[in-house]
């Protein structure tokens, strides 16, 4: 990220009208479109080359102001002493002790609650996709939109009423002779939080993967069948390879979403599990030791780095996926 900033400054110094047209990556476009915006003032000859991007200027400007600049402010703050001046101290603190544990737990939670809901969501999306009932399809697609946005405290309530120590499902299971709390389950620990996250992760997976499922043409299936392929052979040699990049991309998205979820975990555990987003929230609420005010930003910087890696992989996978899915 820091490197990118320097690079961007260089570009604008040398010839700030250069538009990296095919250059992938969100940072690149923002730079490109920002360049287009500046360009409107000067350089008529460039207008023809730049004009396709002028229409994107409002969008690019808005994302820059409300997404790009705040992100840069965090990166900048991560390397600042509270009194001003450059330091690595924040970063050192953010990667040791309780904060390190926070990252590890967050990553563990994100992996669990991206892979499991990813598989379930894929199965559900496929079941819906191959179903002939339009009502079922409509209900699932509208619910997915609503539930993917559902989270936070209301969601925590739902599960406390269900699987809390006196919850409905807990009582049912106890009546059946299985007490989940006697078998290592606890709603207020990592496994519980992961279970609750599925409530918005599965619908998110359905939303993201359904278009990709539409790319599997029935003609391929028929062709494979006519050639004598069995169902598993079709998936092993045709459907699977075509779908794999999309599925992996979607799972990466779920990973990011699980990593960044704050409200649900906060409401459910009120900070008893060390998770990075909750630790960042604590900094914002002002519970900070003197001299450590910027450690929260360093934590945020760490998350941005993780997200950048995830998005890079996502971009590569999307490129592969788009080869087949038009």
């Amino acid at each position: 990220m820091v490197e990118r900033v320097g690079e961007s400054a260089q570009v604008s110094a040398a010839s700030h009208r250069s538009i990296p047209a095919g250059d992938p990556g969100p940072v690149a476009t923002r730079r490109g479109a920002g360049g287009a915006f500046e360009d409107d003032v000067s350089g008529r000859t460039w207008r023809s080359r730049v004009s396709p991007f002028v229409g994107l200027a409002p969008f690019a400007l808005y994302t820059l102001v409300f997404l790009g600049i705040p992100a840069l402010a965090i990166v900048y703050g991560a390397f600042q002493k509270p009194s001003g001046g450059f330091t690595f101290e924040n970063l050192r603190l953010a990667t040791t002790g309780i904060y390190r544990t926070g990252y590890e737990t967050s990553l563990e939670l994100a992996v669990i609650s991206s892979v499991v809901p990813g598989i379930i969501g894929l199965l559900l999306a496929y079941a819906i996709h191959t179903s002939k009932s339009t009502n079922l399809r409509r209900i699932v697609s509208t619910s997915s939109g609503v539930f993917a946005n559902f989270g936070g405290v209301p969601l925590a309530f739902l599960f406390i009423a269900t699987l809390g120590t006196t919850g409905v499902a807990t009582t049912w299971l106890r009546d059946l002779g299985i007490d989940p709390y006697q078998h290592g389950f606890d709603l207020y620990t990592l496994s519980g939080v992961a279970l609750v996250y599925m409530y918005f992760q599965i619908p998110l997976m359905v939303l993201v993967i359904t278009p990709a499922l539409g790319g599997i043409r029935s003609t391929w299936r028929e062709a494979a069948n006519n050639l004598g392929a069995r169902s598993w052979q079709f998936w092993r040699h045709v459907g699977g390879p075509v779908l794999l990049p999309s599925v992996l991309g979607a799972v990466l998205l779920l990973f990011g979403s699980a990593l960044s979820a704050y409200a649900t975990a906060q409401a459910l555990t009120s900070g008893s599990i060390a998770l990075t987003p909750i630790q960042i929230g604590t900094f914002l609420n002002g519970n900070v030791l003197a001299g450590e005010q910027n450690v929260g930003k360093a934590l945020g910087f760490g998350m941005i780095v993780i997200i950048m890696v995830v998005m890079l992989l996502y971009g590569i996978l999307q490129r592969r996926a788009s080869k087949w899915l038009r």
């Binding site: 994107l56 402010a73 009423a161």
Partner: protein, 280 residues
Amino acid sequence: MVALVAEPLDELEVPAEEEGTGKHRRIRWWRGIVLFAVGAYFIIPFYAALRFSLEGSNGKFTLSAFTSIPSQPGFGAAFALSVRLAVITTVITMVLMVPTAVYVHLRVPRLRRLFDGITVLPIVIPPVVLIVGVLQVAPTVLKGTPDLLALVYVVLAMPFVYRSLDAGLRAIDLKTLVEASRSLGGRWSSTLLRVVLPNLRAALLSATILTVALVLGEFTMASLDQYQTFPVWIVNFEQDDAHVSTAVSLLALVGTWLLLLLITSFDRRQSRRWLRKESR
């Protein structure tokens, strides 16, 4: 695969057909289990919360948690603030995203994938990180007003809105429509307002609903920015009466969902009527 092709065809045809019926049964069987399990996972917590909210303090059935909602202290103000934020967010989002999405589809379709990537960013960038940055760089004028939240919510709503618009734009023959309108002498503004937008009705409606749902449910940023929006109020109120809090959460969820369902079915009927008219 290759080995299979090399086999004589007549031997393959019969088992292939049998395989077909067997496979269909297996798919149905699978579908039943998946739908049942997922359905149970989504419905049981719902049922549990409903039962909890219908339970009076003495354990008897009562509707008071639902009927007393409007008269709860702070509910009106919190709800009004959230509605206001929802309106501002929706207006800015639409004004910003609709022309951009149309433009990308029409003029720079090669950037479509890139846009997919950019608009996905707000899902993965932690809101808690974003709000730290926003609060740091926002000018004091904006920091003193809850409207700052609406401006940031626009970014949060982007992924869902863009996806919805993108799907809508893919479904229509945008290029032909625009060319037809332009060649008949329509200006860009009237083309957008009178040709493109009516065709995107469903996408616009669902984008609006999703935006409103997002704003009415967003807790992280609002609580860290210390404004008492609807979700923040629900949490604060939980300490007073968890039954009412749960009832409000349920109502919000069911309300959004019904609205979305209503809109999609309404739109389906509309488009069917159009098709019928055209075929006559």
